[in-house]
Symmetry: C2
């Protein structure tokens, strides 16, 4: 039995005594204890493959802050790696695939990888679940098919709006759709397996869906996520949150109809306007600018106050940042942010 | 008397026989004739300071394509350069300021620069106007105060969401507001002077307003643009278009109430939804993904058809891309795009 169900209650739009808090990339480089663990021998992927390392760093922010959920330490690029694209991380340059998918032939031979090749992730989920000892729920996650496709085609990150990916999707739409289709099947299997391994909630991260025109976003990013939710639902009732950075402005209503229990909002959305648009259909997660926790105590307090005012103390708000914590986040400001959100929302909900 | 008033008619929501077309960065590196002109001796800023060069390259796309407007060749960073930040362009790295604005002291001593220091821009406007010989209207432009502030504080472009700028605006809001205030006064004077030099329309480019939370966008980017429009309106009736990449999703209605005659939309917006939201209040400009013209004829035709379908053949649509042409754009596809838009819209408007 979970000792803290605030996160799951809010995700189900049930009343909670305060707004639950977790933070994207809450286990990460801004924490000195993470940097110490990370300094151990081995590449980043060696560490992601170690269930001991994953459990250790997953719990670090929980030991420091009164967070209401944990998220398994892993990476969204485990799936393309399992498909044979050969992932590596270079210092200062981010992820790279030795074998990107550039041609019709590359994609024609692509298959859903056996889930056994991703067992290390499910083992990490189980290890985190054991280590948590039911303190808070554990979130499992995957990248969204479109976001994974961006990295697969481009061969890594892009600061230019993923030109190779867009070139493929505009000039060879059937080829691109096959890539999305294989990824959709894979992500569904991957999330089902994480749920079976102990995840209490599942999150789909769509970092790049927002680079698409609205119509293409709905067809190539949101529809595959809805298909994943449908497939997961056939096997388990584990709640699902979707998050597409930069797409809520044109497609929030469609996201709320995807079958997801929660929709994540980036820092540009107005929480009150978003709630007015979706009503009580879904929980909303978000959404302070992650750069706030690189600044000052006064700025953190002002942002927390504005966020709780906008969210209105209604059920169905999960506090998070609007994107992941950066390495420049100040740990003491992260602590102040969490305290402000929990205190301010407790006061608001009790009035 | 202008020989082609399609652009100005559409901007005033009057009926036009077809949808007028111009393209952001239509004079640029994708054109071989531009690259040939650009290869002349001198830095980029030397060329921007030459009215002969500006007139020559401004007219190049007009000689190649049946465009319905010209835009003076210049750069948005002329204003910070005139403020003493010392602009230079390094190959592959983009703009750099030798003296960025990082401290309260830097900003305390900032003043509106004398417009005489920007005379070379107004001379370029006049030279373009003479060279055009009334073929089509000429657009003058400026960067928006918030976008200029981003470059001033950061000291150049950022692929990390302008962390120094955000740090200043969150932790020293009065300091940042003084910067915005000086830029607002300057941009207003700058646009008035371009109008007097012969510009038939004015555009305010806000490349970075979309990185802000909705409330900060409205206070720090849109409100200053509305103040500029108010100041310009005291001196001239020259119509104004504003364009904030990434902000229409949360603030399109507010943009339409800014006093601008036109609102530019980036490639993520749905044109039909945008029109439904703003009614007949403003013209809408946009919005095909600029990467389309790096792909294939079939993709260009499909995108043109979808755009004209979405825009519905109603008055008040100015065709453009959703952002500037990239150096990878194929000149023959740009020509096909223009032809498709003009032909398809002519057929639609005559039914």
């Amino acid at each position: 039995m979970l000792k803290n169900t605030t996160f799951l209650d809010a995700l189900a739009l049930r009343h909670t005594p305060y707004t639950p808090v977790w933070l994207m990339r809450q286990a990460g480089r801004y924490l000195p204890e993470y940097r110490a663990s990370r300094a151990k021998a081995g590449s980043f992927m060696d560490l992601v493959r170690s269930q001991d390392f994953c459990a250790e760093v997953t719990l670090q922010p929980l030991d420091r802050y009164p967070l209401d959920a944990a998220i398994v330490f892993s990476d969204i690029l485990t799936i393309p790696d399992a498909m044979g694209l050969e992932l590596s991380f270079t210092v200062g340059e981010g992820p790279r695939f030795a074998k990107p998918l550039r041609t019709e032939a590359d994609i024609a031979k692509l298959v859903v990888p056996p889930m056994d090749s991703l067992r290390y992730v499910f083992d990490a989920v189980s290890a985190c679940k054991r280590a948590l000892n039911d303190r808070v729920p554990l979130i499992g996650f995957s990248g969204a098919p479109f976001t994974l496709a961006c990295y697969c085609v481009e061969g890594g990150g892009s600061t230019e709006g993923y030109p190779l990916t867009k070139s493929m999707l505009y000039s060879a739409p059937q080829v691109f759709e096959r890539l999305i289709d294989v990824l959709t099947h894979t992500v569904a299997d991957y999330l089902i397996a994480q749920s079976r391994a102990g995840a209490d909630a599942l999150m789909i991260f769509d970092t790049w869906g927002g680079i698409l025109p609205a119509a293409q976003y709905r067809a190539l990013s949101l529809a595959p996520m809805a298909e994943i939710i449908r497939r997961v639902r056939e096997k388990t009732a584990t709640p699902i949150i979707i998050f597409s950075k930069g797409a809520a402005g044109h497609s929030l209503e469609q996201m709320a109809s995807s079958g997801a229990q929660g929709v994540g909002l980036d820092w540009t959305s107005d929480l009150a306007a978003a709630r007015a648009l979706v009503g009580k259909k879904v929980a909303l997660q978000g959404n302070i600018d992650p750069l706030i926790v690189t600044t000052t105590s006064a700025a953190v307090e002002a942002a927390a106050r504005a966020c709780i005012d906008e969210a209105g103390g209604l059920p169905g708000h999960l506090f998070n940042l609007g994107h992941g914590l950066t390495p420049q986040a100040k740990p003491e400001l992260v602590g102040e942010l969490i305290a402000h959100i929990q205190t301010l929302s407790r006061a608001k909900k009790s009035t």
